[in-house]
């Protein structure tokens, strides 16, 4: 697969179809990889593909300094490619100017990240080029099991759970920075006249930040899990994201990152929208 990836990337650069390939390169340790930006065909040898390709590289697509350049190619796992669908629907990228290279993926991490256990995009969808064999999708039947387990606890217990989890947040904002869909040029926490959200990493500030971050991703989060992976305090951020995904799925029959034409549930009104949420 790696030879094919390097070959494709080289072709794209040589023919001038793209002027930049965003991919994975060798990391500082055999169990890590590092994003690489490749502009010269001869540098395509630097691309790697292995089970440590964690990062969702589509978060680079919305960077202002990269937006101004020409056409770009980005190497994606199936989960990452779902972000391209959302970015395109939210008019953050011009899909015509991005070549998505999807890599068939049997999961990343050792042991496998939990998101990989319920992956139905092991062969990536909505890509321009797919590299690697067709891989059978896994069942998503049990994807919300952890959410349901938490939900089975009584509200006071759940509150205590989240209070404790968020108390460990140090406000490094790595969750936001790693997220492909947190692309606001100025995040609300950086609005300081007035300071709408407390910047302090005290319990109140942490609750405000973490709840707001999750709510802002309702109906949008594609489940790449980068926020949770990068969190230096191991806060289970995906539990909150998944809960919201579950609500959106139940209420609107919508799953983020699959269908390029389906209207965005939080940004469109339909006369037959469920009123369940407003009871």
């Amino acid at each position: 697969m790696i030879d094919e990836l390097r070959q494709k990337a080289r072709e794209l650069l040589e023919t001038g179809e793209v002027d930049l390939v965003i991919g994975y390169g060798e990391g500082s340790d055999p169990t890590r990889t590092m994003p690489v930006f490749i502009r010269r065909p001869e540098d395509c040898e630097k691309l790697v593909w292995n089970k440590y390709c964690y990062n969702n590289l589509t978060s680079y697509l919305t960077w202002p300094e990269l937006k101004t350049r020409g056409k770009r190619a980005v190497v994606c796992k199936g989960c990452d490619a779902k972000a391209v669908v959302v970015l395109s629907k939210e008019r953050q990228i011009d899909r015509k100017n991005v070549i998505v290279i999807g890599m068939a993926c049997e999961g990343v991490g050792e042991p496998l990240l939990s998101k990989c256990e319920f992956c139905d995009v092991r062969t990536p969808k909505n890509c321009d080029i797919v590299i690697g064999p067709e891989i059978t999708p896994l069942s998503k039947e049990k994807q919300f099991e952890d959410v349901e387990q938490l939900e089975a606890r009584d509200p006071a217990d759940r509150w205590e759970f989240w209070r404790e989890q968020f108390s460990r947040c140090i406000k490094c904002y790595a969750c936001r920075q790693a997220c492909p869909l947190c692309y606001c040029t100025q995040c609300i926490v950086e609005r300081n006249q007035p300071q709408w959200v407390p910047t302090s990493a005290h319990p109140r500030g942490n609750l405000a930040w973490n709840v707001m971050r999750a709510m802002h991703l309702a109906g949008r989060c594609i489940g790449c899990g980068e926020c949770e992976r990068v969190c230096p305090s191991n806060i289970p951020l995906m539990l909150a994201n998944k809960k919201l995904a579950q609500v959106v799925k139940e209420q609107f029959g919508y799953e983020s990152g699959y269908d390029i034409d389906e209207p965005l549930p939080m940004a469109s009104f339909m006369p037959d929208d469920s009123d369940e949420l407003f009871k």
Binding site: G27, S28, D29, R32, T33, M34, P35, V36, F37, N55, S59, Y60, E65, Q165, R168, I170, K171, C172, Y173, A174, R176, Q177, A178, E190, N192, Q195, P198, T199, S200, A201, H202, G205, E226, R229, V230, P232, S233, N234, I235
Partner: protein
């Protein structure tokens, strides 16, 4: 100075002794799969075998959130109350590594430079630091490249070294360290001098003396762009770092009352240097990451004569995109060598 022996399996007894002597004991403790320095409530929680905790010991001296002032306004008068801790609890931090301990004297200079930061010093005075020499360093460690050592004593009151028989050799370095030996009486015994200590090796990864002269001359160099284009601009590196000390001050207030809070800040955040006018002198990732390296390896040296990096490797190991400060600085040293 005489050395003492803590035999295998007796660490919990020592911790109990210290708690009985009135110390709040802080050690690496597991928290949701990560190790952090926390107060030990059960002696068994302390994990002295942990090489690298998620965050450094700095939060026990310079907390991530610190109320410095509380005020109330009753319509006519303002009443203020200082947030300065009167007498911080007597504390012992046990199980930090020599790199973390070395960050303390380095920051003493900073916090006593143009203004003596009592928040820092009162906690420093109330705290005893027991470091544990590294028997198994890993590939992120580079203390020896920045003047440290896996058995360095800077900043420590007492140094513990692992022995081949599973125990520890304790070497008190200061009065505070000797007080720990006294508190541990009955658990500790005088060392025989024949113990075999286990100390790992940390290879030197770059020549520090090459770094500063190159940085002095190369503020504008393509290298900064090359290495930092992929930086996500999060604050992990600064927040896990034992020597990063920048903070932000904000008032959290309503019409009647407020708190003035000091919070950790990071030069990698785009808002860090944004002016009121909207102008930002460090508008890009490379200018911000350059600042991080320059501050540690150039400005701090100019101002205080020491490099503000202890080589703990935390920023590298926890960076979401695998930015490795040791490789970055080694790259500087190479450039310095090749541009001769």
């Amino acid at each position: 100075m005489a050395e003492f022996k803590l035999n295998e399996g007796r660490l919990q007894e020592l911790i109990t002794k210290l708690r009985d002597a009135g110390y709040r004991v802080v050690a690496p403790v597991e928290e949701e799969g990560a190790f952090v320095f926390k107060e030990v409530t059960e002696p068994g929680q302390a994990r002295l075998d942990v090489l690298r905790t998620a965050r450094s010991i700095k939060e026990w001296f310079f907390p991530r959130v610190e109320p410095t002032l509380r005020y109330e306004f009753d319509g006519s008068a303002v009443r203020c109350e200082s947030g300065l801790p009167e007498s911080p609890q007597k504390t012992v931090i046990i199980g930090c590594r020599p790199c973390d301990a070395a960050s303390l004297p380095m920051l003493d200079t900073l916090f006593d430079w143009d203004y003596r930061d009592e928040y820092w010093f009162r906690r420093r005075e109330a705290t005893t630091v027991i470091s544990v020499a590294c028997d198994v360093p890993d590939s992120y460690c580079f203390c020896t490249s920045v003047g440290g050592s896996p058995e360095g004593t800077a900043g420590a009151d007492l140094l513990m070294r692992r022995t081949a028989d599973g125990g520890y050799l304790l070497e008190p370095l200061t009065e505070k360290g000797r007080a720990i030996i006294e508190a541990g009486e009955g658990v500790l015994e005088l060392a025989s001098g024949t113990e075999e200590v286990l100390v790992g090796e940390v290879p030197q990864r770059f020549a520090l003396d090459k770094v500063k002269p190159w940085l002095d001359q190369n503020f504008e160099h393509d290298y900064w762009k090359e290495i930092s284009y992929k930086c996500l601009s999060c604050g992990i590196c600064a927040f896990v770092c034992p020597t990063c000390h920048c903070f932000d001050i904000q008032d959290e207030a309503d019409l009647e009352r407020g708190v003035r809070i000091k919070s950790w800040d990071s030069c990698c955040f785009p808002i860090f240097t944004r002016h009121g006018s909207g102008h930002n002198p460090r508008p890009t990732r490379d200018t911000r990451y350059r600042q991080r390296v320059m501050h540690k390896f150039r400005y701090y040296v100019d101002k205080f004569g020491v490099t503000a990096c202890v080589g703990c490797g935390r920023c590298s190991s926890s960076c979401p995109i695998d930015m490795n400060i040791c490789s970055v600085v080694a790259g500087v040293a190479e450039l310095a060598e090749s541009s001769k």
